[in-house]
């Protein structure tokens, strides 16, 4: 039997393996094959490249500072030149984000039934993130305070769990009874529960607002003195929160 291997010098054996595996290489080449097919028309709502059509940025009036308060308005994407209904081009999230991986499964934010509010003039709006419905910073000689507004579907574990979560953030021990830990507050038909805590120079005012099938959280945190001074303004701000 003729065996090709024996005619090769020992040092050229890897070349032989290369040859043997050339087929594998070919198989992994980039596919440039053009195909054609006929498919039934899709319903209009379903047309277009769904996974890449990231949702158009939701118009959130809360991100715009109230008119007449002097803060510069965020620049809205000028997409009026595109056809109606086309998502904004600039700042569009990467389509890889389209669809939440299971890893981030615990942070879906509530989308239905928004709330609106009017922020005090002295607060500086920050960009709302995927998690935050609204975000402001408050500056003072004592440092910087942060206002975050978030919303999640359901009751997010219940009031006690939320209060104890905040207490944990302040490194305070958990409480057993939520009623003694929060103050109720009524605003525009909404039932607010206000929690306040301070520890080691940090103060937090957290507000739980059940609304529709979601729970909204308004949270003010920062240096103790700044937050104590800002508290009346924050309580006034809470009274502006309403369902549109």
């Amino acid at each position: 039997m003729w065996i090709p291997f024996i005619h090769m010098a020992p040092h050229s054996r890897p070349n032989l393996i290369l040859l043997l595996a050339a087929g594998l290489l070919l198989a992994s080449c980039k596919d440039t094959k053009i195909i054609s097919y006929r498919v039934p028309k899709e319903p209009v709502a379903n047309a277009g490249a769904t996974p890449l059509s990231a949702p158009a940025p939701v118009a959130n009036t809360n991100d715009l500072p109230p008119a007449g308060q002097g803060s510069p308005a965020p620049v809205a994407p000028a997409n009026d030149a595109l056809p109606p209904g086309h998502p904004a081009i600039e700042g569009m999230p990467a389509p890889g984000d389209a669809g939440t991986a299971m890893a981030s499964a615990s942070v879906p934010t509530a989308a239905s039934q928004p709330l609106v509010w009017t922020a005090p003039a002295g607060w500086t709006p920050k960009n709302a993130s995927a998690m935050r419905k609204g975000s402001y910073s408050i500056s003072g000689p004592e440092g910087e305070g942060d206002v975050s507004i978030t919303a999640f579907p359901g009751d997010v574990g219940g009031n006690l769990a939320n209060v104890n979560r905040w207490r944990g953030q302040l490194q305070l021990p958990p409480v057993q009874d939520v009623t003694t830990a929060v103050q109720p507050l009524e605003a525009n038909g909404l039932h607010l529960l206000v929690f306040e805590g301070a520890n080691q120079g940090t103060r937090m005012i957290g507000v739980i607002v059940p609304h529709s099938d979601a729970t909204w959280f308004f949270k003010l945190t920062g240096p103790d003195a700044l937050i104590a001074r800002e508290k009346p303004a924050f309580l006034d701000f809470l009274k502006t929160v309403r369902a549109p």
């Binding site: 065996i3 097919y37 890449l52 389509p95 879906p108 574990g157």
Partner: protein, 392 residues
């Protein structure tokens, strides 16, 4: 045996080769794991495991040189090593049947990974509640779909992979009454409205959305949560001359139209679609949480599987680790949208998916048999010794 053949066999049957290859594969896994930081999992798989050699660019040149054996080379040599050792050393006998089975299982496992690398296709099917789809979409590959929408009931699609556009040539397809010439192609890019970017040269495109947009090429991204957004500038020319220049990108989700010879064609760059001879409807997506918390407990999608001739029409519950298997495809619960009404199913086509299971069973059986053979031999020997001692 001739000496060269003998040395060749000796090389490939040596246990030393096995050890060297196993050490190399350990190192390969180690370096590939580190490389994931910069390259992401997909690029690492291609570069380190589904290649013959891991290559590196010579500084200052465009030349890539092999620096380490890749997964295919190490795996292939291991396979050769195992096969050669078997043929030359192990005789086919009952006494060795356990070893044969174990090694055969191992060979099958190696082959299974090779076939998976070559044949496995993964894509995504994203369904809103109540939505029906007969196709899935690639999460990494993009195509240019030229869709003849003239027929009121059907769309005639010519799907051109971006790899074909990348070559910047002219594409002429028998189903299209025009040629498509790609003048510019960026593998990753950013689109901005022209008026937001002052002082840029005029757009090469003169049709569709192109004239209003500015393209900025971006470096390729390897991050897992980002996707490359290609952009191409296409010149279309029919029998009667040029039809215009279009800018296409998956960032443009609305199609752009061109009418030629009474037919309307839509140009749409989109994730590559794979159509199937059946449809899947999402009946309900459930996102169960542990009581009193927001911690996810279970995700499931109740879907309806249907073929056009209604020979198959059934409801299936897809949940974690419990995929729907149909028509050579597996539909896994892979993700969802924050609205809790949209499910994302991963569609995996892998003709060799059973091989790892079979090989594991074979290896298990082989080891059990081998152990049993040794055990019985040992017991027999001991009884013989005991009997001899008793009679002595």
């Amino acid at each position: 045996m001739r000496p060269l053949l003998k040395s060749f066999l000796h090389f490939f049957t040596s246990l030393r080769l096995t050890v060297v290859l196993l050490v190399l594969s350990l190192l390969l896994v180690f370096f590939a794991t580190l490389a994931q930081v910069n390259l992401g999992i997909w690029a690492v798989q291609t570069k380190y495991f589904r290649s013959l050699f891991v290559t590196a660019q010579l500084p200052g040149t465009e030349l890539f040189v092999p620096v380490f054996p890749g997964g295919y080379l190490i795996g292939g040599l291991l396979l050769l090593n195992l096969g050669a050792a078997h043929v030359s050393r192990l005789r086919l006998s009952w006494a060795k049947s356990g070893l044969w089975l174990t090694h055969f299982g191992l060979i099958l496992l190696l082959l299974g990974e090779l076939f998976t690398g070559l044949w496995q296709k993964e894509s995504m099917m994203r369904l809103d509640q109540g939505e029906t789809k007969a196709y899935s979409e690639s999460s990494r590959q993009i195509e240019l779909a030229v869709i003849d929408t003239t027929d009121p009931k059907f769309d005639d699609v010519v799907a051109i992979p971006t790899a074909a556009l990348e070559q910047l040539g002219t594409i002429q397809h028998p189903k299209l009454p025009f040629r498509i010439h790609t003048t510019t192609y960026h593998q990753n890019s950013l689109l901005q409205m022209r008026r937001q970017v002052p002082n840029v040269p005029p757009s090469p495109a003169d049709q569709g959305f192109g004239p209003q947009l500015v393209v900025t090429p971006l470096p390729l991204t390897y991050k897992q949560d980002e996707q490359n957004m290609p952009t191409a500038v296409l010149e279309l020319a029919g029998a009667d001359g040029p039809l215009g220049t279009w800018l296409v990108s998956p960032l443009l989700t609305e199609p752009q139209s061109v009418t030629v010879q009474g037919h309307t064609y839509q140009l749409l760059m989109r994730p590559t679609r794979h159509y199937y001879p059946f449809s899947v409807t999402l009946l309900k997506f459930s996102h169960d949480r542990y009581p009193g918390t927001d911690i996810p407990k279970n995700f499931s999608s109740r879907v309806r599987l249907r073929t056009p001739d209604a020979s198959v029409d059934r409801e299936v519950l897809i949940y974690m680790n419990n995929p729907l298997r149909y028509g050579g495809l597996a539909f896994y619960q892979a993700g969802f949208e924050p609205n809790d009404r949209t499910t994302i199913l991963q569609v995996v086509q892998n003709p060799s998916w059973l091989l790892p299971y079979i090989s594991c069973v074979l290896m298990f059986l082989g080891l059990v048999i081998q152990f049993a053979i040794h055990l019985t031999r040992f017991i027999r020997k001991r009884t013989a010794v005991a009997a001899a001692a008793a009679t002595a």
